[in-house]
Subunit: 560 residues, 2 copies
């Protein structure tokens, strides 16, 4: 089992007849957001998604995969193939298309429909090629076949890529619900057929590799939801992911049975359910959907809201309900709120804050911790074993997970007899040559931050400054120096933000600074930069001695 | 069921013969850190603990309960009674003793020993009164009886408080392991005796009220730990809470059986295990403990480290091992790391970062998600029902939990037939008068922040500034104005931190600022504040239009 070393150098030239695989993206998760396959100087991109920032990336809106590895070779890209429509798999497409508009995008109907709604906001009209499971298309030297997989969004697909270098199967995100609500099973039979043909390299979803056993069927959530809606006395609010069409379908069905009207709350929920309904993936009972104005006129016991905000997003409608700042919905002890969703690590505090807020006003809160209102969209260990045994790959590259998940998946591969297992972080180059996959080097792979309208102007040093400012605040020290005489003009001015609320905090240091300036004058120091640094040192030492804190200290010396 | 309303006013004078209860502390959790009982103008304090900051309280080291409610009445305090030695129950004692040194502290042997070690660092010698379960002492008008309870630290106690107003039972943190390692059971029989006497008010631990069933016995962890140590090929590192003596005992026992030497890592681990061993609560096999220097000389297969850092604290030894910055331990694929601990909500990202780091270097990582290496220290619903049925309180006040936990506990109370249940946030006043507990008002109850050496100089406005600075950074604009002519002296200077890495970012706004200053000059504006604000507005609008960001903008106008 190989794993990357910091000392990895740039990869060698890909031997003729070899296939190169490089995942880009990162942030703990490996190989989820974007994977680049190279054969015969042509590139095939599978997925192009965004990452969401963690707390040590403050102020960042989105994180893009680092395109620098392919930036000079965009003309060699034959297509972007999308496995499914989740943001972490499609969200960066608009940013890549800004660099080359006409890269063909290949995907299923729902995936492309969601993408096109997003691209419209970016005013981009893409070149698309809609496919369906069973299709087999040639994209440059890549012969690509599509397989149905079951996931927490409709129309997800796995992808088999044939080149003379061998057969690669990339599962995308998947699970194997054996009683899926739409009857669309993960095509295990198709995978077994590939296995008989001989799969040289399997890239497979590791998200739940640490979880033993099998997923509960999505349909087992239905009765719980139904019971909650049936017994609720007042309003019911169900929060879930805006792309989980089957979950919303079960909610709509329960609302219909119990004679409640439904309003969709949240921009992405409204948009996605519109798309799903247009494509016939969501059945909306006649006349059941109303708008928020009508909700206010209805009896609470006739109302059901389907809302975003299940991850505790502070600006979401659900968070506003929880802290009673929502302008239409005032939560009280008659209300029932269902969080029919997972709890993404890192969001716990935000989600519990919402649950506590709702509980405080007396609402009944039903969440996956106390009732069966959510199942995962990813295959646990038991299902991964089925897949491994069907595919029998010669090489396994666990992807879609953090290191802990990849290690667990590797162990499953070992147990099922896979001979060669490659653990490669994003940016690490894996070459499949003569049937053997191995790490041959690494390419640059950082994070590219989107903050507001700009891409890339915020980098690690800005974030480092933000972290210091956010933890400690800053103190500014402003001086004016006469540019002719080199003497200090006027008194030094100290300002601070995020440091203290004590208005007299700096009274004691002013004499020290003045003494330092006098000393500088005696020594004939008049260079503004040097004066600023001397004052910074005096102030910094005093702050550390007095407060045991390390705020950012910023001297500004004006020449007047 | 009553709950607080924002409109609660100050409480009325406590009627003669009534008992008042006020919890102080807060931050989501209710009634955990400090509770003040008042009878006949005397105050009894139960616990005095710290809270740990959440991500929206950046830079804060500790949070103290708000002492302002009792500050003017410190002479009326008859004692601080401590239920157990965890930081969230004792950590604020040094800060309260700073305000009155001679408040008697009452607690069990281990609790007082831990407290005294801490007070030594603060150079405080306390007045202490050591008690043991079964003791009954008079503290002013309060007749206090102590009961053994089982928790994740030795020597924890529940407290019964008798006054003419009635009998109150305060459980403190507890669970009811029926096979505890030290044989010290929660005294359910004692609670039943109180129940027969008639408990007027029960304050009980709600932490696990949402969790069905019963705790797994602490002793069931032993075999898992033993198996991990037995089969490990290289070093074993076990991380757990530094006060969990029984957990450490099981680790020491496994080390002894499998002939490994043990080193304690982390200041609090070393200190607490010293205290526990001195008191005979921890049995350290002869010659088993070594220091880190000796560890380096031993074969890895003969080494076991017991470490802090189980919550992913970034500066802990465990985190440094995970990112290979530890100067003695270089983790590799022969190592085994056990996280024998809970995962406190909010710490998930930090803990998973440690697990991923260790996994990346190939270590085997065993944690509660994949093996039975931790059990909770708090009673789940099944045990709470036992307690409620034994105590049969007339009034129940669920404490020690967030709103979601209190609601769940209240429901258990309702199911067992408790007639009156009071849900009161910290700062809300509950009076027990004529056998009925009810909310009568609220007292000030904010957070008091410790940052470095100072207590209280950092408040909400400083934290608000830190949050803005941490998310968006700042832009400073410095001007000099001639104090005689009122004219701008020299060019305005723009600086920024945490905003962008583009050195030319502000080139385009300089002409706008100069135009604004020209306009001000024409209009005769020379007031430095007004000039600064005009520039701030121009710069702010431009930044928002150009970047869609909202950094803090700080004008500084120097008069020279």
């Amino acid at each position: 089992m190989s794993h990357p070393h910091p000392e990895l150098g740039g990869p060698p030239v890909l031997p003729e007849g070899g296939l190169r695989v490089v995942a880009l993206g990162g942030l703990g998760e490996i190989g989820r957001n974007m994977t680049v396959f190279e054969y015969d100087d042509k590139l095939l991109i599978v997925d192009c998604g965004v990452l969401f920032p963690e707390t040590d990336q403050p102020g960042v809106d989105l994180i893009l995969p680092d395109f620098s590895y392919i930036r000079d070779r965009l003309d060699d890209v034959v297509a972007i193939v999308l496995t499914h429509g989740h943001e972490d798999h499609v969200g960066a497409v608009p940013y890549l298309l800004r660099e080359r508009r006409n890269i063909p995008i290949v995907g299923s109907r729902f995936t492309l429909a969601l993408l096109q709604a997003k691209l419209k906001e970016h005013r981009i009209v893409p070149v698309v090629d809609q496919v369906v499971e069973g299709d087999r298309v040639s994209l440059g030297p890549f012969d690509v076949e599509f397989f149905a997989v079951n996931h927490s969004i409709p129309d997800a697909m796995a992808i088999a890529i044939r080149t003379p270098a061998g057969l690669v199967l990339h599962t995308g995100d998947f699970k194997m619900d054996q009683l899926p609500l739409d009857g669309r099973l993960t095509d295990l039979g198709g995978f077994a057929r590939l296995g008989q043909e001989g799969v040289d390299l399997l890239l497979s979803d590791s998200t739940n590799a640490e979880v033993p056993g099998f997923v509960t069927s999505e349909r087992e959530i239905g009765p719980t939801l139904d019971e909650v809606v049936r017994t609720a006395k007042g309003r019911v609010v169900v929060a879930c992911f805006a792309s989980h069409v089957h979950r919303v379908q079960q909610v709509l069905d329960a609302a219909e049975r119990h004679k409640r009207k439904v309003a969709f709350v949240g921009r992405s929920m409204v948009r996605n359910m519109g798309v799903a309904s247009d494509l016939g993936l969501l059945r909306i009972p006649d006349g059941i959907v109303v708008d928020m104005k009508e909700v206010e006129r209805l009896e609470p016991a006739r109302v059901l809201l389907v809302s975003t905000g299940s991850q505790g997003e502070p600006l979401s409608a659900l968070s506003r309900m929880a802290n009673r700042s929502h302008h239409q919905i005032r939560i009280d002890e008659h209300d029932t709120v269902v969080l029919a969703s997972s709890l993404i690590p890192g969001n716990e505090n935000a989600v519990y804050r919402v649950i506590n807020g709702l509980s405080r006003w007396g609402a009944r809160v039903v969440h996956k911790g106390v009732a069966k209102v959510h199942v995962s969209g990813h295959a646990p260990a038991g299902e991964l074993l089925y897949l491994l045994n069907a595919v029998k790959p010669s090489n396994l590259m666990p992807v879609h997970g953090e290191w802990r998940h990849l290690r667990a998946h590797a162990e499953l591969g070992r147990l099922t007899g896979v001979h060669n297992i490659v653990l490669a972080e994003d940016g690490v180059v894996v070459d499949l040559v003569d049937g053997l996959a191995s790490i041959t080097g690494a390419v640059p792979c950082g994070y590219v931050y989107v903050d507001g309208l700009e891409v890339g102007d915020v980098g690690e040093s800005t974030l480092r400054d933000r972290r210091i400012l956010g933890e400690e605040g800053f103190i500014s020290l402003t001086l004016a120096v006469d540019s002719v005489t080199g003497k200090i003009a006027g008194a030094p001015q100290i300002g601070a933000k995020g440091f203290t609320e004590d208005p007299k905090a700096f009274d004691a240091v002013l004499p020290l600074l003045e003494a330092e300036l006098d000393r500088a004058a005696v020594e004939g120091v008049s260079d503004p930069y040097q004066l600023g640094q001397q004052c910074r040192r005096v102030l910094g030492r005093w702050v550390n001695d007095t407060y045991r804190r390390r705020p950012m200290i910023i001297p500004v010396v004006l020449e007047v």
